[in-house]
Homo-oligomer: 555 residues x 2
């Protein structure tokens, strides 16, 4: 190793750069490696049958003896959700605040059997990880106990914001740690890595507290039962629902497993506070009139199996929608979920409920900073180098523009992608290479059982179906024996299908009739011929391109 | 027929009620049938491989000798797009304004070979259709030459708004026909059928003209090439692009087939006006500096094969994105297209372009009325009965609330679904039954080749793939002959797949070993056994449920 390396660090995002989700940033300082977050992403449209996506950590695993720790910024799935898989292959301390580790443990229990080394830290604690010292600092976000990280490295101080907004009136009273950030800015921040999720939104993100105020207005004029759905992890929002319910003399009934667990964990750890008797069991709901009930449930994303979706179909065992119910969608659809959510809302109206939804309703605010807050973060820290993180490519480009507007020279702003290797020294920063990263797709089969080709086949079959051709041939003559068997799934049906199968049958017979009796033809060769013939025939006759399987047997 | 029928009409929505798309409303008056619009819808997520969806017109076809005409309100696909299929099975006059029929003809030429009876009407013309007289009246919408319909029936006057907004400063100067509507309101409107698409948006929809003003601001501060993408059918928006380009001394270059045709049709018919030499051929683009060019293209919905998507990948033959290009997304994503659009925007940024997009950009406004405009329509017409149309269920419920707020009694408001039969007489309105309606799915195979079961199979395969098992058995003994052949597509791969196939092979051999040598077992019976065995094995071992095909041959 060259001497200069002691004054130089590398940052390698294995996830969360040029995408929203599966955040994992590696920091290399001399022999020491530190990982920031370890999150998952939800599958995209072109990943049918996949449950979750995790970062490719092969680069990390090859160097796992040098990994000093994983530091978590907050308890959302896209920051902690990949731990159950990544910790199968390495043993390392995991640092986080109390609630963050509480939420992460919950997931570990479901998916992991092994030994954990979870270490609780408080904001402003110093975590010594080899040549690097990490200091978490309080930030406001949509889950309690969120932190950013001030990282003292041999090259200088790095600020990683985690996910944040600048809520001036947070529900738990804990504002972002302006003091620590400003002091670091005074000393001189080498590089700022800042959340770009909402870099394309002008202005300021409203305070979480505005949701509570708007809920109050709604409660005031509602006589029927109120059903509120939100993300299970939105602890401050759940707190506000409990507070408002209590103020209006209503009981809160939690329905849905993930919401129940989060409320349980948060109440036990003191992150949620509920006056005695406010939260009741779903079994006791019938003891109160509808006007005294608030149901708090999951399903804000229209997930087909969620509590809310089942209610909207009249299929939930414990909660049947009745005329006069008011449903509040206290979360906006994550991109890609819009049509599912819209279907659930329609069905709730069909069941007789009134539904409050949409951006104008004021019952949801984002947990991410808008443009003016991002500029404040830039001005507080006044970094030499700026690296936008946590965002699609467009968000990072727009965030770079904001940095330039606050005075960071364009040449000191680096935009990378997953796998980019950023080298940062006290006077220089550049992208010096890339390491391999690809989506690791997880389903019931576990990691790596599904690759791009399998997904492509699924897509083709999902579009046009599959046609399987089985024929027997004479071992002696190579002639066709018996009838070709043509089976289909997800292909056409009815008279047209029968016609097509018959015509294809003719084509296959024709192939064997014309074919020179060359016994050197292998079965594979004949299968390839038949696949080609079937594909060409179906494409020209029907315009469709189903997947074709063929099996030729000697009889 | 009872005497009372002469004072009674029926309205039967075959599409567009409880959904956005494939609008088709039937009006029955005595022996006369009139169809309003004949639109298509785009396939939903659960319809893989389907190109378009059209209404089920079987009810109409059974009564086609009574159909007096189809009256079109405007030229959008969801109002005229099903004509090529519906007109295959019946011959009837089609009425519409000049541009509406121009746009509809364009589609007919592509998909239809038959005789057309298209009849151009002007706003306020009277169309006599048996016992019914239809009078189109001007409305403002996002395509020029849009109309609503005042329908004189034996029961009374019906107002059908079509799609509309109340633009007070429309680009072509043609406002909604307030005079006709108010006069009808004075005389007494029996029923109002009004566009609910944006009934959940408070306030007023901004004028189309604001887009032109915002485009001006953008042009003023842009030196590089400008690329604008919008819906091909947004004629007033295209007009504004041409106007602003001309004002700033830029040439407009149309790229993309559908945009070219619409511009062609509209220029020829006089609905678009371009100063000589402003619109240039794409081949001539290189003769001008980038700062003198506006490219107007399709692709605002992120469609993978569109001009814009290809540009964003650096794969368009005629337009390569260069640093300094400004791309303006002058249309919002239709629900369901958000992720495709976001990918295209990201890739444009990756190519070095700046992109203006999103609700705050002011370069797109809707063509549908918001809540205050809907209330004005209600107050102008003061209908006895109100039927919200053109919207998802939630939009219609919210629209009903607006009607109540303007004084229509709740008992006089009817919310239906596709297929509902509304009976309306001078003093009574109710839903008296339903006629069958279902989505008719169209792909290359034509209508009705694909049914729900085929779609279900496609979905399963798209999620979990397919496994095909082929075995040969002895004709004499029923024993297994040779090796079972196991083929898969879209299923797992790698070592895990080989292991699973081997274990399944063992299970199949086991089946034949244990099975009593009962030669009465038919091939079908053995196939069913093997399918069951394979399904159960794969589900318990892998948690997956692929489609299983099985073929057993006697050898």
């Amino acid at each position: 190793m060259r001497t200069i390396a002691t004054k130089e660090i590398r940052l390698i995002p294995l996830g969360g750069m040029g995408e929203i989700g599966k955040n994992l940033m590696l920091l290399e300082s001399g022999p020491d490696l530190v990982a920031i977050d370890c999150g998952l992403a939800f599958p995209k449209d072109n990943m049918p049958g996949i449950d979750v996506v995790i970062p490719d950590v092969s680069y990390l695993l090859e160097r796992k003896d040098r990994l000093r720790g994983i530091v978590l910024t907050h308890g959302h799935e896209d920051h902690v959700g990949a731990l159950p898989w990544v910790l199968r292959d390495l043993t390392v301390p995991v640092y986080g605040t109390r609630l963050t580790l509480g939420l992460a443990s919950r997931k570990m229990n479901e998916n992991f059997e092994g030994e954990l080394d979870f270490r609780v830290v408080a904001p402003r604690d110093l975590i010594q990880l080899g040549s690097v010292t990490v200091q978490p600092f309080r930030v406001t976000h949509s889950v309690s106990d969120s932190v950013g990280l001030l990282i003292h490295t041999p090259a200088g101080e790095i600020v990683h914001t985690g996910d944040f907004k600048l809520d001036q009136t947070p529900v738990d009273g804990e504002t972002t740690d302006y003091g620590l950030l400003a002091a670091a800015g005074e000393r001189g921040v080498l590089a700022l890595l800042s959340d770009s999720t909402h870099a394309d939104r002008p202005g300021f993100t409203p305070s979480e507290r505005t949701v509570g105020e708007n809920l109050s207005h709604v409660f005031q004029k509602t006589n029927g039962r109120i059903i509120i759905t939100s993300f299970a992890s939105s602890v401050p929002r759940i707190q506000q629902v409990i507070d408002v319910a209590h103020r209006f003399g209503r009981k809160v009934c939690i329905v849905g497993r993930s919401m129940e667990t989060v409320v349980d964990v948060s109440l036990n750890m003191g992150y949620l506070k509920a006056p005695m008797g406010t939260v009741i069991d779903v079994e006791d709901m019938s003891r109160y009139p509808l006007s005294k009930i608030v149901v708090l449930s999951t399903g804000s994303q229209g997930e087909p199996l969620s509590v809310l979706a089942r209610m909207s179909q009249g299929e939930h065992r414990q909660v049947q929608i009745v005329e006069g119910d008011l449903v509040i969608m206290a979360a906006t659809p994550v991109p890609g979920n819009e049509t599912m959510v819209s279907k659930v809302v329609d069905n709730l109206f069909r069941q007789g409920a009134t539904v409050i939804y949409g951006p104008e309703s004021g019952v949801h605010v984002s947990g991410h900073a808008s443009q003016e807050e991002l500029k404040i973060m830039l001005n507080l820290t006044r970094p030499r180098f700026f690296i936008p993180v946590h965002g699609d490519y467009r968000h990072m480009v727009i965030h770079a523009g904001l940095a330039e507007a606050t005075g960071v020279p364009a040449s000191n702003i680096l935009i990378g992608e997953n796998g980019s290797v950023f080298r940062i020294s006290p006077y220089n920063a550049s992208i010096v290479g890339t390491v391999p990263t690809q989506d690791v797709l997880i389903d019931d089969l576990g990691p790596k059982a599904i690759d791009d080709w399998v997904l492509k086949e699924r897509q083709f079959m999902g579009e046009c179906g599959v046609v399987a051709v089985t024929v027997g041939i004479s071992e002696k003559t190579g002639d066709l024996v018996g009838e070709p068997v043509i089976q289909t799934a997800g292909f056409m049906q009815g008279p047209r299908a029968a016609e097509t199968a018959e015509a294809l049958d003719g084509k296959i017979r024709g192939y064997f009739a014309q074919k020179s009796r060359d016994k050197k033809d292998t079965l594979e060769r004949i299968e390839q011929d038949l696949i080609g013939l079937t594909r060409r025939y179906l494409r020209s006759e029907t315009g469709q391109r189903p997947i074709v399987l063929c099996s030729v047997r000697k009889v």
